[in-house]
């Protein structure tokens, strides 16, 4: 990786100009009060066009993405983004649309929405979808509002609690709280699944529903899901399915058949559209037939969701087709189990058995602690991986294990890539056992090593002027 750490302000030379703005024909508006008018110049960097192009190209070279390397970030499904999706999204008939165009002129786009709705319903066993929500958390909030609406419409106003397992994604309790619902936690058993006996006493007439991810964040299938669905429904609650972990199930099991009433999908995870760095996402929400009337009439996002993302996911579904969509999950599960089995003599595997698309280690078996030298932690392993050119897995999540290291390889990686990753993970474990200092001081080969997060948080420097 080429080292480059300049700020564009550092390239600035007074009087240099890369672009000439047209003459300003408008006088300063007299309506802007004097005290609000800028007195000093704007302070923009003065740079030539090649300066700008080289600056941003150099920065882009320091980026890591699924197009540059293996990205086993657990629960994020960082699968490869097929380029045919981009070709379809770039078609002029789609790329040139404006959301305010007359319906008669956008029939192709409307057909994509309709077909996508049908495809997602078929894949998940839901009755219908709204494609509006712009990400997973947006979908969760929309789904919970549907849940609340359902109870309100029935005049059942006391249902204000939502049950969330202790292994849940952090967004689940957060979405429930934003929706004004109270979160009740249910514990997991030793085998990583929801404790059905602990769930029973929580199912009062104040429970609006339960939020679950299946397979859960440990990559384990909730084998008691049918019993759980029965219990929750008997108590008058609804089941919400967090679709973040849908990848291993596509074409094999449907949330609708498991008993879920509401769910969201992450098109940017399961359906291969690019993500990372905060977006763009898409989190369509599906409902069972009896909730059809609770799905929002009004739009919940500015303009019919992220159409470009929906279009890419639609291209993905069509290019794979029914038979190959089923293989997605099968290969994802195979890849995850292969890595797990090849590494479990070096990393602690807290829960044995077959996992789905991802699994969780609880740190190193031999962390190399001796005398005054502390052992290598999960953070150290993650940092050392960067030296070897791999993106780190998810670390310290789920919270059930103190040294959690969560690996999700996805179906798109070849055996050679998986073997290379396994080789490096084994090498790191050996390094830790012999000399944990190598790991404590990692990464050694990246442009910067470990940033001082504490100082950055305590004394943040937010402006270039303040850095001088």
């Amino acid at each position: 990786m080429k080292y480059y750490d300049k700020l564009i302000f550092e390239l600035s030379k007074e009087g240099r100009c890369g672009y000439s703005l047209p003459q300003n024909k408008f006088p300063a508006s007299p309506e802007v009060p004097l005290q609000l008018r800028r007195e000093a110049p704007l302070g923009l960097p003065e740079v030539s066009e090649p300066d700008v192009v080289r600056h941003y190209t150099n920065l882009s070279q320091m980026n890591f993405g699924v197009d540059t390397g293996f990205y086993p970030l657990g629960s994020c499904t960082m699968k490869y983004n097929p380029k045919i999706n981009e070709e379809m999204a770039a078609l002029q008939g789609f790329a040139g649309l404006h959301p305010l165009m007359h319906a008669g002129l956008v029939k192709g786009a409307l057909k994509v929405y309709q077909e996508m709705n049908k495809a997602l319903a078929a894949i998940t066993g839901m009755y219908t979808f709204t494609l509006d929500p712009c990400a997973g958390a947006h979908g969760e909030l929309t789904g919970l509002m549907i849940m609340r609406t359902y109870h309100m419409q029935r005049g059942d106003f006391k249902r204000t609690k939502v049950i969330v397992p202790d292994s849940a994604h952090g967004t689940n309790p957060a979405s429930a709280a934003v929706c004004g619902l109270e979160v009740v936690e249910v514990k997991s058993l030793e085998n990583g699944r929801i404790d059905v006996e602990a769930l029973k006493p929580l199912l009062t007439d104040e429970v609006a529903g339960i939020m679950m991810t299946n397979p859960n964040t440990l990559g384990l299938f909730e084998t008691e899901i049918k019993t759980i669905a029965k219990l929750v429904h008997e108590a008058g609650g609804l089941l919400y399915y967090d679709g973040a972990n849908m990848n291993p199930l596509m074409g094999v099991v449907r949330p609708g058949d498991m008993g879920f009433d509401i769910m969201h999908l992450n098109l940017h995870k399961t359906f291969s559209t690019p993500h990372g760095g905060g977006g763009p996402g898409s989190g369509p929400v599906g409902v069972a037939k009896h909730l059809e009337d609770c799905i929002p009439d009004l739009r919940v996002s500015g303009f019919h969701g992220n159409f470009g993302v929906i279009l890419r996911a639609y291209a993905y579904i069509l290019s794979l087709g029914k038979d190959h969509l089923k293989k997605v999950g099968q290969y994802a599960v195979l890849s995850a189990n292969y890595i797990k089995e090849c590494l479990k003599d070096k990393y602690k595997l807290p829960i044995e058995g077959v996992c789905k698309h991802e699994f969780v280690f609880d740190g190193l078996i031999h962390d190399g602690a001796h005398d005054d030298v502390p052992g290598a932690t999960t953070l150290d392993v993650a940092k050392r991986l960067l030296d070897y050119g791999f993106h780190a897995p998810t670390i310290y999540f789920p919270l059930l294990f103190h040294q959690a290291l969560m690996i999700e390889p996805t179906e798109t990686e070849s055996k050679e890539t998986l073997d290379a990753f396994i080789g490096v993970m084994r090498k790191i474990a050996d390094e830790a056992a012999q000399d944990p200092m190598i790991l404590h001081e990692a990464p050694h080969n990246t442009p910067i090593s470990r940033p001082d997060e504490t100082t950055a948080a305590r004394n943040p420097i937010l402006k270039y002027q303040d850095a001088q």
Binding site: Y396, E453, T454, A457, R458
Partner: protein, 126 residues
């Protein structure tokens, strides 16, 4: 091994209380600051705020987590340790010197009901 001071009272959410008459100083235990890691921000209540036992009165933020502060006693906040706004690291340096709020208790018996040093030591299991 975390430091536990004799003579203080401790809550299950890892706050300590030093009670004198109807006045109580409240902070977080050494165990709590270790678990949190480097504290980067202390969210303080206002003087004059009412606090309730078992309810949050502020929050700690560290590089790795954010955690509510739960008041072990009920009463009125008569002083806050404003120094922590600019120097949150004092909580890490000495959790027992870095008191967070001073409370005029409405029911001083609430402090008596908390764990003593020995019980807290057993509670955190170190």
């Amino acid at each position: 091994m975390s430091k536990i001071l004799e003579g203080l009272k401790y809550s299950e959410s890892h706050e300590w209380v030093k009670a004198e008459g109807n006045i109580a100083w409240v902070g977080v235990s050494d165990f709590a600051q270790k678990e949190m890691g480097d504290i980067t921000y202390v969210d303080l209540p206002e003087e004059g705020d009412d606090v309730l036992a078992g309810e949050e009165f502020g929050a700690l933020e560290s590089v790795k987590a954010a955690s509510d502060l739960i008041c072990p006693v009920s009463g009125t906040v008569v002083a806050v340790n404003a120094e922590l706004e600019d120097t949150p690291e004092k909580v890490n340096e000495d959790a027992y010197a870095a008191w967070i709020i001073k409370v005029e208790m409405s029911d001083p018996s609430q402090a008596d009901a908390l764990m003593d040093a020995a019980a807290y030591k057993a509670f955190i299991g170190e």
